[in-house]
Amino acid sequence: MAVTRLTVLKRAAFVALLLGTLLGGLLALVVASRGLERASRASSQASALNLARRPEAAPPLRWLPAPPGAPRPDGVTLEDLRTAYLLGHSELTYAARSGDPSGLSGRLAGNALSGALAVTRQERHPLLLDWNHRARLLGPDPAGGWQLRVRYWTARALPGPDGWTDLRVTRRDAQVTLREQSGVWRTTDVTLLADTRPDLRAPPALPVRSWRAVTLPADWTDWTPARWQRTLTLAARHDLRPLVLPLPAQPTREQLGALRAALTRLHAAARPAALAFSAPLTLESVPVRAAVAEHAALAAALLTGPVRADDPGSRAALLALRLTHPHLPLLAPVDGPAADLPDLPALNALLSAQLRAPTPGPAAPQVLLTAPPAPRLPLPGRPDRRGPALTLAAWQGGWLLPLDALFGPDDRPTPDAALLLEAGR
């Protein structure tokens, strides 16, 4: 059979189409992998940038008085030195986590820069956090610049196949030299003097079995004095204590100002107060929570946010808060299966009390009872279990409930809450 010219053309067109499709597919794969790589790098850099943010509302550095006779800086303010020092730490956190060393030379120089580059060049990108810095100005450096003696808290972790591994929380003492180079103050020399983990003390005892605690609504930061007075009168009438002030994961300067004012107001009214975060406690959230806890010296306890019992990150975060504020009782709702984690203390050695929904039978001494949240949709298969929980809590005592759930708009207790408020008085 003779092959006509048309057939040859058809076959050639078919082969060309096939090859073109193959090539196009390959090209698409290459472009997609490039794009994916760039997108994943951008997202890791964005999350590292998020880590490197220092809580602007609660400054993480406090100056201690300089030793007697130490000269005062001339031509530079303490604020300049503080900013330069903290930006150096932010850059370290970012570069270590993202592996991107491009910004290091802008904030560090000398041996600090070479040490940071050595850490950044590694294959595994560690998590590096720092909080609650205390600095003391020592005096001028003989080679120019200023010397600081600093003490701060730090946590490090290495990425593992499933979560963080090699977690370590320590308190560091270091001598830091800051110098001005081409118009920018940079951290140039760092000598680590000590890097230790202080002994863990037993958590402070907290009589949660006698608590009649209420969580204020989230808009408490905007309350007028009249609204505060109404709430304080209500709390005094029903013997509600302590009042729990909820805070968002990243409080603003205004919210922290309102927190200080509220704590002073409650202290003056002899009504104990506690501080609560509702976002889950992770290692990454420790710097903000530790800084906020430092601003809440008058608070009776800190509700750290939900903790997973089998997660080393949140266990290490609890350890970090416990070590940084050894006198502040910590409370948290714990979920997930109980687990022993290597190198990390048990939950009972970290928490003063746990928050749990009430169950029939006697409650453990270090358990604060809470009601399950209201169902979002009133579906027939999912009944509202808050009523029975309130009844149980009334019998067992020691509870923490939202203020809105106990009182109606006219400040009268709801029918479910009446029994609870009567019990134990």
């Binding site: 130490a70 041996n111 850490v119 595994r124 450096d141 490090r156």
Partner: protein, 328 residues
């Protein structure tokens, strides 16, 4: 296919299956891991850090050193050759390093920890500016002085001889930052630490920016004098030397009393009346038989001595100077 050929085929297939099994059989390596003892040591060797690890082949070691800029991590796997594997690298600027050795990875779960070693490294000496000698002191509760003062502490003479009516004249001159004298009435504390725990301290207020003291030490040795006013402080060092007795004093018995003197300094003067003198009687082997503390009057020290047998030496000490005389 005939039955013998089928049997041969089955045997070949079985052989092939056995031969094609992966070489690193996990249960076999786990059993091997349990049999080889694991050891790990981490130490500082000069300017290096050295890791010595031994254990089952394929076991993974990791060293983490915490520097200021973050953790530095080194990893490795133990080779199949027997004996410890030694690795060295330059010592990082870290205060602690931690080494761990994990069993070869198994299919099930996390690798088990075989050994752990922690190395604590000392801090390098820091260069502290000269002006901040008390840099490491705890936060002081001193109230802030309204204006920083500068000043000078002088002590003359730098060396005094005990017993010769030579006091130290210490003077502090205080000025404000603009050079004018410190306000009248600024309190200045002068304190001195001497040998054997000798201490003295006195506060004076300034007049026209000056405060002065006259101090008479009674223990020979080096004294460190320190003056403080607000945040200003200064130190000076001065010495008190024992005076020398001029010549050997005569010793006489006056009835039951022993009379030593008159004592004279090298200048020929008598010691001040009331200068304490220690008299001791020693026997031949140097044991003290009797001691008395008396004071001088008109240069003469008198003491009533009990009946002593075997005394051969009379030792006399006054104002840091000593003299040994034959027992009369």
């Amino acid at each position: 296919m005939t039955p013998p050929a089928r049997r041969l085929g089955a045997a070949l297939l079985a052989l092939c299956l056995v031969a094609c099994r992966p070489a690193g059989d996990p249960p076999a390596s786990a059993a091997q891991a349990a049999s080889v003892p694991a050891s790990l040591s981490l130490r500082a060797a000069g300017t290096d850090v050295q890791l010595r690890a031994s254990g089952p082949a394929g076991a993974r070691w990791q060293v983490v050193c915490d520097t200021f800029a973050g953790p530095l991590v080194w990893n490795g796997t133990l080779p199949p050759v027997p004996g410890p594997a030694v690795t060295r690298w330059p010592r990082p600027d870290a205060r602690s390093c931690e080494a761990t050795l994990h069993a070869p990875p198994d299919r099930a779960g996390a690798p088990t920890l075989l050994a752990r070693a922690v190395l604590t490294l000392p801090a390098a000496p820091t260069t502290t500016p000269a002006a901040t000698v008390t840099a490491a002191a705890p936060p002081s509760a001193l109230p802030a002085a309204p204006a920083p003062l500068t000043g000078r502490l002088t002590v003359t003479p730098a060396s005094v001889r005990l017993g010769l009516r030579e006091p130290w004249a210490a003077q502090v001159t205080l000025r404000r930052a603009d050079g004018t004298p410190a306000p009248d009435g600024t309190p200045v504390l002068l304190s001195a630490d001497g040998p054997a725990g000798a201490r003295l301290s006195a506060t004076r207020v300034t007049v026209n920016g000056e405060a002065s003291w006259q101090l008479t030490p009674d223990v020979p040795g080096r004294y460190r004098l320190q003056a403080r006013a607000g945040r200003w402080q200064a130190t000076a060092v001065a010495a008190a030397q024992p005076a020398l007795l001029g010549r050997r004093p005569p010793v006489l018995w006056a009835g039951p009393d022993l009379e030593v003197g008159p004592l004279r300094w090298t200048t020929g003067a008598y010691p001040d009346d009331g200068t304490p003198v220690t008299l001791q009687a020693l026997n031949r082997s140097g044991r003290v038989l009797w001691t008395a503390q008396v004071t001088t009057a008109q240069g003469v020290a008198r003491a009533r001595v009990p009946t002593l047998t075997g005394a051969v030496t009379l030792r006399l000490s006054v104002a840091g100077a000593g003299e040994s005389l034959p027992w009369p």
